[in-house]
């Protein structure tokens, strides 16, 4: 049997009907992942207890208490904690760090019987859009190994795209799930801020971070989201979003908003062509396309690269070589800090800490940090207004297909611009899903492109409904 293209739903059916065993299924993905790792650099490590996880899952199936994800092999981004397992966040400073508790998402998936294969490569502490900032080398794109995987959750995206896991978890602070999903032709969901608990996710930008799944299709995305979502005592910003969902009840989803004026510049013509074809498909299937204005969207990158580094500089203060992680000793205590942080944190992490410390420093906080918050609220206002008129917003996920390894790494600002269609979603806190919509050719290779659907807060259901529809009309 060919396991490569199996979705969670299909594999679950085979397992429940006893057509295959958990061991057969997991062995296939585990072996494939091991074999392909030297080529793609997808996994930073494999867990040593896969066999006992298999036994536990098979018993759940045999006892008739299996869930939809029991026995399904998945990959975990290296910044999500599993008790007793190394979680390095792609950094030298945590090279040998073993987590001392389970994150909430892991606890939920463990209880449901999912199998964790290993931890996936990422930009150090999730800072980057290409996975080139990993201290352990870049992950290669699934369609062209000379190109980037996208980031920061590059390993998790490539694991699914190359059949080295059926699904995976990533985190998204400014596009870190959607961008690599788009670059590797898989489905990536960035849930509403607070819809999924951040407890046990290493913090980067605490007002922006969220955990979400990479999957082969939209139904699988919904399946994992339903398993990991919900209010959690250990994350006070988490919520079930009941109030917001009520607005949605019995609503006929028909109106799709597209901010056409924002799509004029800086987007590759063939990427735009694929996007326009997708619009036509929606139209042909009874959806109404509305030209919407989001006048402050043009400021979103500037706002993001002010607020995010500010939050980064605060969150990174915990890596001091005292409580956990690696340490380089100096003469005095202050030298311990300087040497540990100077040598064990990578270039991009150091850059963002400096930038964040600067925008928060006396004399500049008003000019940068406070002003950025004002503009963030203006961007939120744009979305509130837009969702009075339309049910969902449609855009491309990325203005280009995957770029070449090394192409942008020496110019931070150019690298930051790759996030142009993704960051405002995090600033506003709404959910978004990236779904493949075709291919473009670069150097004789077909590279995937994607659409991005954006819904109001806690209305992931709208994304799943339209997303599934889109897959059938593709």
């Amino acid at each position: 049997m060919d396991f490569q293209k199996l979705t969670i739903h299909q594999a679950n059916k085979l397992l429940i009907e006893k057509k295959i065993s958990v061991k057969e299924l997991v062995d296939f993905f585990y072996n494939n992942a091991n074999q392909k790792n030297s080529q793609y650099n997808t996994y930073l490590g494999f867990y040593d207890d896969v066999q006992s996880q298999i036994n536990k899952a098979q018993k759940m199936i045999d006892d008739g208490v299996a869930t939809k994800i029991t026995g399904i092999p998945i990959a975990i981004k290296d910044n999500i904690l599993i008790d007793g397992k190394i979680a390095s966040a792609g950094s030298k400073i945590l090279e040998n760090y073993k987590a001392t508790f389970d994150s909430t998402v892991i606890k939920k998936l463990k209880d449901a019987g999912a199998i964790f294969l290993g931890r996936t490569n990422m930009d150090e502490f999730a800072m980057g859009g290409s996975t080139e900032n990993s201290a352990y080398g870049p992950t290669k794109n699934a369609f062209d190994i000379n190109r980037v995987a996208g980031g920061s959750s590059g390993g998790s995206a490539v694991a699914v795209a190359t059949s080295c896991a059926i699904a995976s978890l990533g985190s998204d602070t400014g596009g870190s799930i959607r961008l690599p999903a788009s670059f590797n032709g898989v489905v990536g969901l960035k849930p509403t801020y607070g819809a999924v608990s951040r407890h046990g996710l290493m913090a980067m930008g605490s007002s922006l971070d969220v955990i979400g799944p990479f999957t082969k299709d939209v139904s699988d995305s919904e399946l994992i989201f339903d398993l990991i979502k919900g209010k959690d005592k250990y994350d006070s910003t988490s919520s079930d979003g009941q109030k917001e969902k009520e607005i949605l009840q019995n609503k006929n989803i028909k109106k799709i908003g597209v901010p056409f004026s924002y799509l004029k510049d800086g987007i590759d013509s063939d990427v735009l062509e694929n996007f326009n074809k997708s619009i036509e498909k929606f139209k042909a299937n009874g959806y109404e396309i509305v030209d919407i204005k989001l006048p402050n969207l043009k400021y979103s990158l500037a706002v993001y690269y002010t607020l995010m580094p500010a939050e980064v500089s605060s969150n990174m203060a915990r890596y001091d070589g005292v409580k956990f992680g690696s340490k380089i000793s100096g003469e005095k205590l202050i030298d311990d800090y300087l040497k540990t942080r100077g040598n064990l944190l990578g270039k991009e992490v150091r850059r963002r800490i400096i930038l964040g410390t600067y925008v928060l420093s006396a004399g500049y906080a008003d000019e940068y940090y406070n002003k950025a918050w004002q503009v963030r609220n203006m961007i939120k206002g744009d979305f509130v207004n837009a969702f009075k008129e339309v049910d969902v917003i449609l855009m491309p996920t990325s203005p280009t297909p995957a770029f070449k390894i090394g192409e942008k790494i020496n110019d931070p600002l150019t690298m930051y611009l790759a996030d142009i269609f993704t960051v405002f979603v995090n600033l506003v806190g709404v959910p978004a899903i990236s779904i493949p919509d075709g291919f473009v050719k670069r150097d004789d290779k077909n590279l995937p492109t994607s659409i991005q659907l954006i819904a109001p807060h806690f209305c992931e259901q709208v994304l799943f409904e339209i997303g599934k529809k889109f897959e059938t009309i593709q």
Binding site: T237, G321, F324, K339, M378
Partner: protein, 101 residues
């Protein structure tokens, strides 16, 4: 932002950097700040006369929402040992640091 500014900020952030890196970083940060500067005009450009500034506040757990005894991180000795094991230097049951005063 010049090299001296970056040096000052990196000292505050407790990050040691070489002269060469300070030089390079200052030009990179300068170019990012140049881009970010547009937020300064964004607010005055806006027709909205009153825009809320920072409206963030800490989100605390409801006081009536109690943790069950066993939901609080287990304080058994093995877990305590695991946490201590992650510290670079320990002595007995303590995390060890250099003399501060």
């Amino acid at each position: 932002m010049n090299k001296q500014d970056v040096k000052k900020i990196s000292d505050l952030a407790r990050i040691e950097m070489s002269e060469e890196e300070l030089e390079k970083m200052s030009s990179e940060i300068e170019s990012v700040l140049g881009y970010v500067d547009q937020i300064k005009t964004a607010v005055s450009d806006s027709s909205e006369s009153r825009i809320e500034s920072v409206n963030i506040r800490n989100a605390f757990r409801d006081l009536d929402e109690k943790f069950e005894e066993n939901e609080i991180f287990e304080t058994d000795l093995s877990r305590r040992k695991n946490i201590l094991d992650e510290a670079p230097e320990t002595e007995g049951d303590y995390i060890k640091v250099k003399k501060i005063l």
